[in-house]
């Protein structure tokens, strides 16, 4: 299966360009984590609002910090936020949505739906502020707020899909060979929702990075470090004054990474499809 998947992905030029983009950004993020790059993100290394030069590829900001260095560091932040939120909320949504769908109209389903209803009814930015306040400014408050609220959409979609799949004959066949209910969910029902999780995961990844921008702008986001969100927030004032360094660097990076992810996820969906529905 892995060989076939790789072969199909290789033959898709859009998917491959997506893979290249994401890999480049992932490598940059790894370099930042290991300290090879971007460690000078907070140092003042030049004058304020310097233009592009060989020393400062994207110029400097208000405080004279190197925008290129800050963009690199922001890559790591984007991956941290995006990956953490995507994996956690997708797993949570898959598990809770799967249980709710399998035991649909039972008490567990009621509880999960009730929880989802409560979370969905709280305005998100108010909720994020409340979590940040409750955690006394912990750097993980933003991540937690997103994970807690983002799983509900995934869970709703998975619940519906599980309710559809559990009526299929191969689930009855699994029961007929004596597979207990919960094992059936994890062995036969959820694997059949993988394509949905992949698409939903991409959407959540994009949403997480977008939300980080807004939360950072509101001062509820990244506490210790820099992110593309913070840079865009700074640029909202600077663009009016004719300084485009932050705007172009962070905006372009954000655009490229999100496009790469979308292209890759779209191609992966086709390449991983073993059911023959698409080819």
């Amino acid at each position: 299966m892995t060989q076939n998947t790789w072969r199909r992905l290789r033959s898709d030029p859009y998917g491959m360009s997506g893979l290249v983009l994401v890999t480049v950004f992932a490598l940059l993020a790894t370099c930042v984590w290991t300290g090879l790059l971007g460690h000078g993100w907070s140092e003042v290394s030049g004058g304020r609002y310097e233009g592009a030069s060989s020393g400062h590829w994207f110029g400097t900001n208000l405080l004279g910090q190197d925008i290129f260095g800050r963009t690199l560091f922001g890559t790591a932040t984007a991956f941290e936020v995006g990956l953490l939120v995507t994996f956690s909320s997708t797993l949570l949504g898959m598990a809770l949505g799967g249980l709710a769908g399998w035991y649909s109209h039972g008490w567990l389903d009621e509880i999960i739906l009730w929880l989802k209803g409560v979370l969905d009814s709280i305005p998100f930015y108010l909720f994020a502020a409340a979590v940040a306040y409750a955690l006394q400014g912990s750097p993980w408050a933003m991540h937690l707020a997103m994970i807690i609220t983002f799983w509900t959409t995934t869970a709703r979609i998975i619940r519906g899909e599980v309710m559809r799949i559990k009526e299929r004959e191969f689930i009855e066949a699994a029961r007929a060979i004596g597979l207990p209910g919960l094992k059936t969910v994890f062995r036969h029902v959820l694997p059949n929702t993988f394509h949905i999780l992949l698409v939903q995961g991409t959407i959540v990844f994009v949403a997480a990075i977008n939300t980080e921008v807004i939360l950072s702008f509101l001062g509820l986001g990244i506490q210790d470090g820099v992110s593309w969100g913070l840079m865009l927030a700074e640029s909202s004032q600077e663009v009016l004054a004719g300084h485009f360094g932050n705007f172009i660097a962070a905006g372009t990076s954000l655009f490229l990474l999100l496009m790469g992810f979308n292209l890759l996820a779209d191609a992966l969906q086709d390449a991983l499809d073993v059911r023959g529905a698409l080819n």
Partner: protein
Amino acid sequence: MTAALRVKNLSVWIESRSGRIPVVDRISFSIKAGEATGLVGESGCGKTMTARAILGQLPVAGIGVSSDGIEVNGKDIYSLNARRRRALLGRDIAMIFQQPATALDPVFTIGQQIGAVYRRHFGGSQQNIRQTTLESLQSVGFSRAEDIAAAYPHQLSGGMRQLAMIAMATVCKPAVIVADEPTTALDSSSRALILQQLKHLQTLHQTAMLYISHDLSVVRQACRDVMVMYCGRIMETTDCQSLFTHARHPYSAGLLACIPQLGATRPAAISSIPGQVPGAADLPGGCHFAPRCSRAEARCRESVPVITDEDGCGAACFRPL
């Protein structure tokens, strides 16, 4: 020889606001190891519910079940707790489904799915499981078993999928196999092959087979004995030979008369049984077939005829042919 499958007074009903609607009404039968019995009847007569009950899949919400015992190899499925019952399923009794296209999980290979059944009941090393899987595929006639094991269900044709399903049902060499319309979704050349393979495995492993079908010709090819079902009751139990030469229940005779004859003088005249199958909610009293029966008399509408012969064979009819 003891029976591999023995069903005693099995009843299945649907719970509704106006009370219980009977779907299967106190049916009893047994099948010996190495023998095949057919259960024939029209759509909606309770064949599939019987199969589900035998596999311990009932009761579910809205559907109730009762019996004086459904024994597989002497073990009563309904007296076992859930855990022991599951241990029995797939190992001692297995099911072959009507639609191999939907009864196989689309995201796993055939080999993974067959292996999972064996691992579940016998465990063993990865290598052992793989070996058993391949042997099972070979036993249903695949010469390139390894290619089939690596294939996903959608890559196989309908007939090959059904063979793969048979390989899956027989991998644990169960004592009883219930085949619910095993050839209905297939063309007639695949049908002959499937029936031939099933018969081969039945003799090889001394399996007791229960064929459920609406198609009398399938039953004639595959089974020695046959039960004719109508509105949840068994109308006639006999061996295939006598059914086709001398059906004793008027309903069985009617069904046989419905089979178009090749070379009949007037092809336009396809005979049918007058009237319609009554709905399960408003079954007539007495013999359910009485309103459509040309031989019915007063007592047919008042009391229920039962099979009186000592060996359990015969027709449930006051006025058999």
